[in-house]
Each structure stands twice: as C-alpha cells, then as structure tokens.
Symmetry: C2
C-alpha cells in the first residue's frame, strides 16, 4: 500500500516526539508499505513567528508572511527525515516546491492548483520515505504560498490524491472524531466512521479535527481518510463515502464555533442588487462569509442584513461594510464578536424530519436565545450568545441521544 | 549608489534589533541609494536547529541539514522586509533561489557557481529594497544548499559583485577590523583600511570578522567591502586593494585560531606518493587541510607527517587517516585538539625581512614552544599549545608595535 501520514504540530512538538513519529513511519515501512509523511510546524512555532511579525509591523505583507510561516514546516520536514533515516530507512525531505505543489497567488490562503509530484514518484520507486513540509506551495512565478491554518491536512489529502495513495492517515492529539467536544461534554463518543459530508459540516462548524478544505478535497477525489492519535494505537475514525448504516443515525454530532463575528447592516433600502454589491466586495477581499440572513422588510422599503465572518477578518470586513453601507445610505453597521455558532449534523436528516424544531425547542427550554438560523440538507446551525456555548453543546448532545 | 548591506546574527537578534536594521536601511534609501540587504539567522537560531538535529540523529544527512539550517535566514529576511515596509519603503524578501544563487551540490559548504539576479534587477528598477536570505543557494536540481558557517558574508559579496554594487557593507557587532582581538589585548587598534590579502590571511587565521571565502571573492572581483558595527555610526574598516601606504607597515595584525586540530601520522615509509594518497582522500571528503609539515626522514626510510584540519572535521579526518595509515603500514595516528594557531600578518613583509625570526624569538622568550610553522608571502603562522594562546597574542602585539 501507499500510505500518506500527516502529523500535526503536537505530534512533532520536540525531538522526542519527532523520534516517536519516525518509529511509527518505520513500522509502516517495515510492513512493506510505501510512506509519504506530511508534517506541520512544531507546536507553538507558527504562533511564535506570527508574534515576531506582529512585533515588527502592524500590517505585515502577506507575501512575506508566507515566506516567514512556511519555514516552520521546512524545519520539521528536515528533522523528521533525519529521524527516519536514523532508524535505518532511506528518507528524503521535500519542500512544497520539491513536492511540486503549485498554488494560486492568494497569499496566506492559497489554493492548490496541481501537484506534479514527479520527483516524489521517482523517490518512492527508489524506496525512499518522503517527508513533505506541509501547509505550503509555490506559485507559477516562484513565490512561496501557504494554504491557511490547518493547511497541512490539505497538503496530505491532495498529495494522497495526486499519488493515488490507498490511505491518508491524519495523526493528531485526539483519538478520532467525536460526537462533540469531550472537553465540554465528557460523555461524547468516538465515531467509528463518518461520511465526508458530515465531516465537512463538522469541520466547517469549528470541530478542529480536520481542516475544511482538506475534507472537501477528500470528498471530491474520494480519498479515504483516517483520523487517529499519534500518542496511542487506537484505530481512529474513518472518513469515507456515505453508506446505508449512516442514514439510520439522525444526528451524528454537535459542533460549535467561537471564531465567527456577526455584522449587521441596519435599514438598507430594500432594492435589488444591494446584497450582491456588498457580498461581491467582501468576496473580492477573499473573506469567506458563512451565514447570511436578510430580515423581512421593515415598513416595506428597508431591510436589515446580518452575516458572519471569521473573527480574524472582522475588522477588515467591518471597514469594507461601513464604506459600502455609506454608499447605500444604510443607517449603520454593527459588529458583534460575543457570539457562537452551534450546529447539529447528520446525514440521517435527509430522511428524518423534526431535527430543527427539536433543536430550537431544546435551546429555548434552557433560556438560550437564537440570533440567526441557517440550515442545509444535513445540518442546522444557530448563532447564540458566546457565554451559552458549553451549555448549548451539552443539552443538544443529550437531547439527540448522542451519548449512547 | 547601489549598496549591499549585510547584517549578522547579533544585528537581527530580536524584533527590536530588526527594527533598528530597518531604520539604517531606510536611511540609505532616503539618501537616494538603492539597497540590497543580506541577513543572517537570528543569533542563536542556527545553533538551536543544529541542537535539534543532534538530538534526533548522531549523523544527520547533509542535504536535510541544509534544508533545516536555511530556514533561519528565510525567517529573518521576511521579518526584515516587513520592518522596512513598516517604515514606508517598498520592500521584498528573496530566498537564495529567488535571488538566483546557483551553487554546486556540496551540501553544508556549497560553492556559488553563479548569481542570475534577474528578479533582483527588476525589483531594484521598481525601487524595492530587497532583503535576501543569506547563507543559502540552490542546486541545478532544485535542492537547497548552504554556504558554510559565515556564509552570509559570501552571499553579500557575491551579490554585490553580480549586481555591480558600488559598496558592500558588512554590519556586525564589532566596529571593524582590529590589529588583534581586543578581548585579549585591550590595546588593540582599529584599522582604517586593510588589503584584501591581509584580510584573507586574518580571516583564514580565525579573526572571525569576515568569512574567508567572502574575502577571496571580494579580492577576485574587487568588491569594496566595509566592515562596521550595526550598533553605532563609527566608520568601520575598508577592505580594498593594496596601496603604497599599506606596504610601510610590516605587520598589520596578530590573529589566532583555536578551531584547528593537529593530526600526526607516525613513521610512514618515506616513499613518493604517500602524501598524495593521504591528502587526496581527505580532499575528496571535502575537508580543508590547513598546515602540512613533513619531518625529515627518521633513519633514512621513514617520516612523520603532521597536518591541521578544522576541529569540526577532526573525527572524520582521524577515521580516514587511520584507514590509510593502516594501508601504508604507518606506526600509528595521533590526534591533538589542545592546540592553537598564532599568526602575524602584513603586506609589508614582502619588502621587509626578519618578521619570522622576531616572532620565534618573542615566543621563545616567553617559554612558548612551537610545534609547527608555516609561512606565506604576507604571514607567519605557528602552532602552539592552546593554553598559551592569549599570552602569545599579547606579546606579539607588543613586539610588533601594533598598539601605537
């Protein structure tokens, strides 16, 4: 088998952890598998570099930020290759460029355009273990890019797809995907398997086990992904295509996201093209809007528009929105950062009704007010006050019988 | 003017130091100069990375070592570019590759083959301050190389040459080139200027102000180099072509080097080709031999060969030498690490005699035994016991009247 193994920051946090990773890689190689390893930066390293940049500039350039941040993964890839070689296996470290990861030029959140992987195929033929620096790629014009937070997951899945790997293992500091965050609800259960669709909703809803785009990518190219711990030998959770078993479960997980902000444009003239103009400007700035709610017209000719964006983009978005609100003669713009998104997810919702009403009912029963609602085929999300996050997770986990 | 400014590790040791560097760069840009900055890794960073590698492997691969170590300079180049930009100047960070620094494939001590610099010329035309990650290049087959300890000096001089710069300023934590190490002899004087030849001898003799190969390069391409401090505005020392004034001074400096080891092959059969065989093997391993002394035959048909190599290579050299000594039926091999090399340097020696004998006489007068002697047109070097280093420096500095 060709296996891609990705190790996150806590799994490569120091020399001893890197040696433990090498042992695991060597075990797979010894069993006759070909192995491509993708590594993140050592835990804390990326934050340290960001801290330095912030000490130096209030507005560091994104191209330089990428050059800066890509260094962390290069360091780990070199060290991990040394550790594998020290165990008697041939190993070679590859940068994003050497792996042939070509991206667009949207610095700090580039998208992978293709992976050439020629050199990797040759090295695999020569029985090398390849250790790739995750999180990074290169533009057609020779500049280093990074793939956004959690981008090493995407590196791993994309490499698995490009090399036609049999399996992509994502090693992290948790045992797999849980019905919810065990830190909040200790009765949370580990799932044996989960569909790409559910995982995608969970990831995008803030369950930080897998980066959203890596799940999209895995789903699109049907890459079988296993999420498991690098600290033990537990089997983990398989992320795979939806099957009949999964449909029987109405709700498979409760997720929360504290990293969103809510922006409201007040009393906008209710004319066609208003929303388009606002959200085009935001999209042009490469900001991802999550939920959008437009209220019913107030008195017939004006409306409120609310939407959520990642907290990291909230100031940039506020500035943009205020500019456009002025042009549109809106009454004003509000930013609220003390919010959280709570969601219930399950492919079973497609065939079972009543999930949304049960969710609203449960929240109401505990005095939790709902500010925004958004639904998809397989999830229901509510924006609530930040302080109710943990309570909401626990009561929903209980209400949907997820502990059993 | 086009100025290349190189800043060493202590000059970029933290965010505040990097901001101070940016101020100096901005000053030059404000005066209308075009500026290319070359930066080292933050002080301590390279040693930290080497420490990690040594924790992980007793024999880390050199290709991976280069990938590892090149990260430090990339980090500083990105941060420094951000700092310059924060002062309102356009700045762009370049890796060795983006600067077009092509090297051979001798990892950990690669030689620069050429610098294409196309992208740099374009950026200078567009009035960017360029900040290049020092110490690194790229092979024709896409692998990262490093240029050996102090390699950022070489990066700076080579870039200055490739871009036809008017001046190459090497910023460090000392005010310039001294007649000897002021830590040992407080009466040491700063030199206003020094010839390439003298600087070369001083650098290769362990005066760590400039990396040897950078001086060779500067001499070959006549790049005017100024060594000065990034901590003040003192004028520094100009390294330039030899002129009439310089010849009047017999000795311009006393240098010492504690980083050599002495290896002796005992009682080798005195036949042609013996030395060639030994030193070819050592050269093939890319180890630089400094001094070689072959004693007069003992009893007519056997001889001792002694030579010095950098301490970092001493174990590798010892193993190689023992292997060959066995094949040559020598009596054994001795390694001595408790030695130092003391040298007096000056272009004036070309026209003045008696320097060597005055040196031997001075050392003898203070009870310092000489183990090996080597001379060139402009220097005399002696290997002595390590413990006499400081004493030797002080008495020679005094004897040659360098404090005046």
């Amino acid at each position: 088998m060709l296996i891609v193994q990705k190790y996150g920051g806590t799994s490569v946090a120091n020399a001893d952890r890197i040696k433990a990773v090498a042992e695991r890689v060597a075990k797979a190689a010894k069993e006759g598998h070909k192995v491509v390893v993708v590594v993140s930066a050592m835990a804390g390293e990326t934050d340290k570099l960001i801290g330095l940049a912030n000490q130096i500039s209030t507005n560091p350039g994104e191209r330089e930020m990428d050059l800066l941040l890509s260094s962390g993964e290069r360091i780990t890839s070199a060290l991990t290759a040394m550790a594998v070689e020290a165990l008697g296996y041939k190993a070679i470290a590859f940068t994003g460029r050497q792996m042939g990861i070509i991206t667009d030029a949207v610095h700090t959140k580039a998208r992978i355009e293709k992976i050439t992987g020629e050199r990797a195929r040759k090295a695999l033929d020569e029985n090398y273990v390849i250790v790739v620096a995750g999180f990074q790629g290169i533009t057609g014009t020779d500049d280093v890019t990074t793939l956004g937070r959690g981008g090493s997951d995407l590196s791993a899945v994309a490499i698995a797809s490009a090399l036609n790997a049999d399996l992509c293992e994502i090693y992290t500091d948790v045992d797999g995907v849980y019905t919810t965050d065990p830190n909040i609800a200790p009765e949370a259960r580990k799932l044996e398997k989960i569909s790409y669709e559910e995982m995608l909703e969970l990831a995008s809803l803030g369950a930080k086990v897998l980066q959203t785009r890596s799940v999209e990518f895995a789903m699109k190219y049907e890459v079988p992904v296993v999420v498991r711990s690098s600290f033990n030998d537990n089997p983990g959770t398989l992320v795979t295509r939806e099957d009949k078993d999964m449909e029987k479960v109405v709700v498979s997980g409760v997720a929360y996201d504290k990293n969103q902000s809510k922006i409201t444009v007040k009393t906008v003239p209710d004319k066609p093209g208003i929303a388009a103009r606002l959200f085009k400007a935001i999209a042009d700035a490469n900001i991802v809007v999550d939920m959008i709610v437009q209220n019913i017209s107030i008195g017939g000719n004006a409306t409120d528009i609310s939407f959520t964006v990642p907290k990291t983009d909230s100031k940039k978005t506020l500035a943009l929105t205020e500019k456009i609100a002025g042009e549109l003669e809106a009454k004003g713009v509000d930013l609220r950062e003390d919010i959280a998104k709570i969601s219930v997810v399950g492919v079973g919702m497609r065939t079972h009704s009543g999930v949304a009403s049960q969710m609203f009912d449960t929240l109401a029963k505990h005095g939790i007010n709902i500010m925004m609602i958004s639904t998809s085929e397989i999830k229901v999300s509510c924006i609530i006050e930040l302080k109710y996050t943990e309570l909401a997770v626990r009561v929903l986990h209980e209400a949907f019988g997820l502990s059993q």
